[in-house]
């Protein structure tokens, strides 16, 4: 192969590489695509848990209905939905170049997430005080505790991870190490956590409300 061919091939190869880098899948940058793939995989995890719960609840005649009030879960839902709104405000301000506002909205989102976690733990403690554990409860099939603590625990783990991520990303964004893109990717994760809660509330809480 002549030097000219090599040069030509080298040129073609470089052009091809540039084209590949310029056109990511679905016009979504790699970091953001990675988060979407994680979200898709994680939604399969939650869907698997919720379908397994539905299967067992359907197949178990003495499924307990231990919840008497919707106040706590309504408050938790309100807080989580509001945190999604504050996250969108943070991203908008970050993309508009207003670092200070974006930082404050992100921290407010983290605070709301932490408040959600506290309310969640409070509810867990009330159930544990009432005799519910992973393998036992005073009302009916022990599967209730296993599913309740597993699914809400998995979600609470996501919220806790999200709060930590929000604080870390906000601080690095404020310090100039992260950009608005990074804040947006963290926001995607936070909205996903909110989305999962929209399915957990009716299936785990509201269907198990005693009338």
């Amino acid at each position: 192969m002549s030097q000219a061919d090599l040069s030509m091939h080298g040129q073609v190869s470089r052009t091809s590489a540039t084209e590949t880098m310029a056109a990511p899948a679905f016009s979504v940058p790699a970091k953001k695509m990675a988060m979407w793939l994680f979200i898709i995989a994680d939604s399969a995890t939650f869907a698997g848990c919720l379908v397994a719960y539905g299967f067992s609840r359907n197949a178990t005649p003495n499924w307990p209905r231990p919840f008497h009030s919707i106040t706590n879960v309504a408050l938790m839902t309100f807080i989580l939905l509001t945190s999604s709104l504050t996250m969108t405000f943070a991203i908008r301000d970050a993309q508009a170049g207003d670092k200070g506002k974006a930082f404050r909205w992100t921290l407010l989102t983290a605070v709301l997430g932490a408040a959600f976690g506290v309310l969640h733990i409070r509810e867990w403690m009330a159930l544990i005080d009432g005799g519910t554990t992973l393998f036992h409860n005073p009302w009916g099939t022990p599967l209730f505790g296993a599913f309740f603590f597993s699914i809400t625990g998995l979600h609470l783990g996501h919220v806790t991870g999200g709060v930590i991520a929000l604080i870390a990303v906000a601080l690095r964004y404020q310090g100039g190490r992260y950009q608005a893109d990074d804040l947006e990717i963290t926001g995607l994760y936070w909205h996903f956590v909110d989305l999962v809660w929209m399915f957990v509330v009716p299936l785990i809480y509201l269907l198990n409300l005693s009338h």
Partner: protein, 102 residues
């Protein structure tokens, strides 16, 4: 970022979506107190939850701005969800088709 850069005035749209989500969540709580069977309640709550999730996906997560990604997410997720439904008949068999069933 690329195609889904937030447009000015979008804050109002976010607020509208937020109010819709709150309203839909409230509808779920209202359904809880309706005098209907558990299966009907489950169905209605699931429909409301799917609408809520769709709103969050389209507007908060900006899937409405990217057609290709939107279809990728929808097709993949729906395929997984459909795949998970294979066990329901067995679930009903446990309550009505075994010797110790009522």
């Amino acid at each position: 970022m690329t195609d889904d850069t937030h447009k000015p005035g979008g804050m109002r749209k976010d607020l509208i979506v937020y109010v819709c989500l709150l309203a839909l969540a409230a509808i779920q709580f209202v359904i809880t107190y309706q005098d209907i069977s558990a299966s009907q309640m489950f169905l209605r709550m699931l429909v409301v939850a799917i609408i809520e999730g769709g709103l969050a996906l389209l507007f908060f997560m900006h899937l409405s701005d990217n057609r290709g990604l939107r279809w990728f997410v929808i097709i993949f997720t729906v395929a997984v969800l459909l795949g998970l439904q294979y066990g329901w008949t067995d679930s009903f068999r446990l309550t009505s088709g075994v010797p110790w069933a009522h």
